[in-house]
Amino acid sequence: MSNVTIRIPTPLRSYTGGADEVRVQAQTVGDALHALGAAHDGVLSRILDAAGEPRQFVNIYIGGSNVRGLDGLASAVAEGEVISIVPAVAGGADESQRSRDRST
């Protein structure tokens, strides 16, 4: 088992008590995310879909590499590595919700 750090993006920090990083022990990225989910209720379903795969608007990185280009959630993690969760963010810092609510 490796000690790894998971970087939590701002939109998910409400699930981690505001923490921007969570440390877990894991052998693979999938293990790490499940360990995160076990420690923090509700966060896992924001990252993985019903089939257990990363959602289409979320990218999971080990260091600078997207796990999609590695072995997906089965990608091994080494001691001290950093996992980043990178969701799509629309914001151009305008009133997004209101804009979205208007029709094109």
């Binding site: 608007f57 963010v89 151009g92 305008d94």
Partner: protein, 390 residues
Amino acid sequence: MKAKDREIARLKEGIAEMTPAQTLALQAQGAALIDVREAEEIALGSPTGALRLGRGFLELRIEDAVPRADRPLVLMCNSGTRSLFAAADLGRLGYTRVYSMAGGFSRWKNEGLPFELPPRTDQHSRERYSRHLLMPEVGEAGQQRLLASKALLVGAGGLGSPAAFYLAAAGIGTLGVVDHDVVERSNLQRQILHTDARVGSSKVDSARQTLEALNPSIDVKPIRTRLSGGNVEDVLRGYDVVVDGSDNFPTRYLVNDACVKLGIPNVHGSVYRFEGQATVFWPTYAKRRGPCYRCLYPEPPPADLAPSCAEAGVLGVLPGVIGLLQAVETIKILLGIGDPLVGRLICYDALRARFSELQVAPDPDCRYCADPARFPGYVDYEQFCAGVAA
């Protein structure tokens, strides 16, 4: 015999001369042709592709223009005399293959060899852009390129404001600004193009007022519309680069799809509270195949999983940081210098004061960018982003 004639005779013994035709052939093989004449002479015509360094600053500028001392150099003036002196100087600086062109530009022109009228930077522009002109990566040719460039800002909001300010200051000749909205007081915490007095006025008109006040010599085109599948190509076509500072997913996907179809680089930025992302989506980038927005995020998050800045807030200065990264990338793309953020995503965490770089690979099966000849068409982006159907 005058001293100068004795010196010229002496120089001719030590410096090989090339005819204009030989020079043209050597230039085609990679030699640098250096025009050492005065600016007024160069303005009347100069060989195509010549480096116009002038005589006065030659020794100070040559190493930036020609870093390798073994690259062949042909010096050229108007008749072939000043170029002898210049060639001798560059030989003393350590250049090993230095020639002088016999007969100078008048013979070049008489022999019907190719020349051009270099665009002239007028005194006003020379002063305004003097700090650009000093840098070899921009210089006069680069500045002329910027002045002839067209950039389109999607959104005159938090990201578009700082980007537009610096692109206008840099002398991007045509700046299109597309936004349908009006200025609200809550915008002013970050949308620095606008002013308190303009609350209630159109954002694109406000943007034009501000940008023209900063740089009256550029052309600001206000486009007050909401982009849709029906108008996006008409709005984007003809621009060299698009700066996406939009605030919602339907527009992000629409702008992506149109940029992919039209082959326009899309300089992307987004912000959320204390975090921001910037990258360049450019599948047809010549040096490496880049991804598009859909390669990174095939689908948008459903609305309940994507709280907006209006709900979540944003540090006002954060879009300033990201918008300026977009402006830098835009200028690099327009000048063709450096390594653009193609296939690389910069993430900025303001609270940690940390930049990280993530690789973004193109998706070989991407429906939109994998095969530009098979563009699947625009969709109903509101529906697509509401998760109903694509």
